[in-house]
C-alpha cells in the first residue's frame, strides 16, 4: 500500500461522505442519522475503492463493503436507538449503480435504432453487461447490508427498544 494509494482512498472516502449526506437529506432522516450515514459511507466506499484498486471484481467488492456497513450500522443503531436502515440505506446510496442502470436503457435505445448488424450486436452486449452489473451490484448491496441482520435478528430488530 503506497502513500499515493492511501491518499486516493482518503479522498474517495471524503467525497463519498459528502455524496451520502446530500442523498440522505432527500429522505429526511434525523440529524444524528445524517452524521452516522456520512461516516459509514466514507468507510464503505473507500473500502470498495481500495478493493477494486487491488483487483477485486466490483460486485464482490460491493458485497464486502456493504456487509461492513451493515455490521457497523447495527452497532450504531444500538447506540443512538434508531432502526439500522435509517442510516445504512443512505450510506449505500453512493454505491447504487446509477450509471450502469441508465446505460442499460441507453444501449437498449441504441440497439433499437441501429440498422447495422455488427453495431446492434455491440449494443446488445452493452445491454447485457450493464444490466447484469446493475442487478448484481444491487443484490450485493442488499444481501451484504442485511447479512448482519440475518445473523443477529433479535439484536437488530429491537434497537429502538429503550426499556
Amino acid at each position: 500500500m503506497t502513500p499515493e494509494l492511501i491518499k486516493l482512498v482518503f479522498i474517495d472516502g471524503m467525497m463519498a461522505a459528502v455524496a451520502a449526506t446530500g442523498f440522505a437529506v432527500i429522505s429526511n432522516p434525523s440529524r444524528k442519522a445524517i452524521f452516522v450515514s456520512a461516516f459509514l459511507a466514507a468507510i464503505g466506499h473507500s473500502l470498495r475503492f481500495f478493493l477494486i484498486k487491488s483487483g477485486v471484481e466490483i460486485s464482490v467488492a460491493t458485497f464486502l463493503a456493504a456487509s461492513c456497513i451493515g455490521l457497523l450500522s447495527i452497532i450504531f443503531a444500538r447506540i443512538i436507538h434508531c432502526p439500522a436502515e435509517v442510516f445504512s440505506f443512505p450510506s449505500l446510496l453512493p454505491m447504487i449503480p446509477g450509471m450502469f442502470a441508465y446505460r442499460t436503457i441507453l444501449s437498449l435505445i441504441k440497439f433499437m435504432q441501429s440498422t447495422e448488424v455488427v453495431k446492434a450486436q455491440g449494443f446488445m452486449l452493452d445491454f447485457f453487461h450493464n444490466g447484469m452489473t446493475t442487478l448484481f451490484i444491487l443484490l450485493a448491496l442488499v444481501v451484504g447490508v442485511s447479512l448482519p441482520v440475518l445473523i443477529f435478528p433479535k439484536f437488530s430488530f429491537s434497537v429502538t427498544r429503550k426499556y
Binding site: 451520502a20 446530500g22 429526511n28 432502526p83 444491487l138 442488499v142 444481501v143 426499556y163
Partner: protein, 263 residues
Amino acid sequence: MNDNVEKKEPNIQEIADLLIKIASTLMSSGAHTMRIIQNVSRIAETFGYHMDLSVFQLSIMMTIINKKDSSKRLTLIKKTKPLLLNFTIVSDLSALSWETYDKKTPFEEIKKELHQIITTKRMSRWLVLLLVSCANASFCGLFGGDLIAIALVFAGTFAGFLLRQEMMKKHVNHLVVFTTSAFVASLIAGVGYVFKIGNTPEIALASSVLYLIPGVPLINSMLDIIEGHILTGIARLVNASSLIVCITIGLFASMLILGLEKL
C-alpha cells in the same frame, strides 16, 4: 392489564383505524414490508389483537382478530399516499411501537404521538437543494471528473432539483417530473461539451442525472424480494425502473441536442 385500563379499552374500529393509518404512513415514508408488518403487529399485540397484513403498491389490506373473542374481527383496505421518503417518521414510529409494547401506552396517547410524528416539519428545502447539489458534484469527482466538470454538475443539479421541487409542489405526474429534471440537468452539465471547456465533459454529462436515481426504492425492492414479499418487491422494482427509463429519456434528449453519440 389492570381494571383501570380495561374500562377505557377502545373499540375494534378505532384500533383498526389507528393501525392501518400507521401502516400506510410507514409505506409512504419508505419503510420495507417486513418492518411495516412487525411495527404494526407489535402495536396490535399490545391491545390483544392478532393482525394479518398484506401490502400492495397502492393499497394496504388488514384484518384484525380479537384474541379472546374471535367473533370480533374486522377487515380494512386503505389507499396509500404517493411515496415521499421520510426516515424520521420510520424511525419514530418504530420507537413508538416498542414503547407501546413495553409500557402499554394508552390508546389516546398513541394517537396523540402519531399525530405529532406525522406533523413534524421536514428539513428546509433550500438546505436540501444545496446539499443535493454538493452531493452530485462530489459524485462527479468520484467518477474522476475535473474541477470544471464538478462545477458544471453542481449548476446542473441545482437547476434540475429546483425544477423537481417546484413541479412536485404543483403535483405534476412524477414520470414527467423525472424526465424534465433529467433533461434540464444534463443539458446544463453538457455545456462543457459544446464549448470544449474542461478535460472530462463526458463525465459531467454522465453524472449530472445521478441525483434522480431512486436508490431507496431499489434497495427496498431487493430487500422485499429476499425476505419473501416478492409481489411487493417486484412492484417497487418496476416502479423504480420506470423512473430510470424516464431519466434515460431525458438524458437521451439532451444528448441528441448536443450531438453526442456515445456516453
